[in-house]
Amino acid sequence: MSLEILTYSFMHRALISGIAIAILCSVIGLFLVLRRYSLFGDAIAHSSFGGIALGLLVGVYPLWTAYGVSIVSALIITKIKDRYNISGDASIAVLLSSGIAIGLVIIGFSGGFTIDIFSFLFGSILLVSVDDTILILSLTGAILIVILLLYRQILYSTFNEEQAKVSGIPVEKINYLIVFMAGITVVTSIQLVGVLLISALFVIPNVTAIMYGKGFKQTAIISMSFSVFSVVVGILISYVFDITPAGTIVLLSIGLLAGTMIIKSAGLLSKN
């Protein structure tokens, strides 16, 4: 692999944005996985498809409409789930299918804009602009600060809601905050792996890290490391071999998970 590719400014932007997104998805994803909300990222991503289609139809930058539609949909579905006592997996299915349905209907109205949609479905990290990079870094920084400030409250309400409530933690508000931050994270990450593979970044590094880590912080750091490794190596390999970055990144993550499972099966992984 030639080091020359590291001198290109588009590659700098791709790697910087990719690392930020890898860290963000891994942190938010850990809370979602532990809340048994693994597919929530997928559902928000699919609802963002409706937002992207809306943006393309009305001539607004599609990611802005995707932010709006995804966050509002996620908050509404969370409210409906709580109010009508719908199970988590069923509410995810509703969110997921309604986003795709809205997107398809809007595409039908517009007569189709398949080329633009394609880049959102599968990601286009090598095409991120300077403005995109600044936006990704700003949102990542803001969300990580919120998580650090509310670390105990978020972890406690993820661990056991009832006990967290008794300790005076506003669990419902924390739940909405997590959903809100997950919505922002998903749409921000669409440029890296696209709508269809987004949940892989949320779930796979965390499932892998949980097999190694003892404590929460240790698990989060391992997950971030795996995620950053997959993204950086995935971007570089995909450029050198001219293959899709999204698929390469996800396959590398799956490779790390498979390797961990083999190590664990061989009894080489002990948490004690």
Binding site: L34, L155, F159, N160, G215
Partner: protein
């Protein structure tokens, strides 16, 4: 004597059943109150109401003279140990992490070490909570409940599913907390013998309050114990 908790005319009506009917009693500072009653007697409903988890009750509950519907400040003075804490077995948190979750003043790291040592679980501090036995887990949850130096410890059938050796250790810890550290303990249990040995006060619940007073008065009155057992059995048969 300082009234820590005052419950007046507490009634909880669920859609299909009246879980508590006009229950009134007072818990004073330093009391070790055992709340006994069969399954479905309303013990968990009483705790849920006291802890602010259920709010659609009639009547009033006061902690330190203040109605709990008006302020949640009282929760700072409470340590709560649930019946069987529900969490994912693979949840990646150590004993240290769990106790730290309960700590309000996050800079007070020494307090975590202190409480882990007091409950003989210091050597387990870096183990994942899901890897521990039921008895060890329960001690961790007591440590979490005590880490903020609460004035009241509320325990909802805390020894369910725990081996006998761990239960004995658990009871000796409770006794010490009440007698030496003067923590008021409110503890629900099925085990009348254990309540007789540990608690200085008893509340017999069977949706209504059958008896509340000194435990030695209750347990020394065979007629009263028999009446309560029969009433509980009848209510249990009626429900099932």
């Amino acid at each position: 004597m300082l009234k820590v908790v005052e419950i007046n005319n507490l009634t909880v009506q669920y859609p299909d059943v009246k879980a508590l009917d006009d229950v009134s009693f007072v818990i004073n500072q330093g009391d070790f109150l055992g709340i006994i009653g069969p399954n479905g007697a309303g013990k968990s409903t009483l705790f849920d109401s006291m802890l602010g988890l259920y709010t659609k009750y009639k009547g009033t509950i006061k902690f330190f003279g203040e109605d709990i519907k008006k302020s949640k400040n009282y929760l700072k003075e409470i340590g709560y140990v649930p019946q069987k804490p529900i969490f994912e077995k693979n949840f990646p948190v150590t004993v240290n992490d769990v106790v730290r979750m309960g700590l309000r003043n996050e800079s007070d790291e020494n307090r975590i070490d202190e409480i882990l040592q007091q409950l003989w679980i210091h050597e387990l501090r870096n183990r994942r909570i899901g890897e521990l036995s039921g008895g060890q887990q329960q001690r961790v949850f007591i440590a979490k409940a005590l880490v903020n130096n609460p004035k009241i410890l509320i325990l909802d059938e805390p020894v369910t599913g725990i081996d006998q050796q761990s239960i004995e250790l658990f009871y000796s810890i409770l006794r010490e907390l009440n007698s030496k550290q003067k923590i008021t303990i409110v503890w629900s249990s099925h085990d009348l013998d254990a309540v007789n040995q540990l608690a200085n006060h008893v509340a017999c619940l069977n949706r209504t309050l059958f008896f509340h007073g000194e435990s030695k008065k209750f347990f020394s009155d065979d007629k009263l114990v028999k009446q309560y057992s029969e009433a509980s059995m009848q209510e249990h048969m009626h429900r099932h």
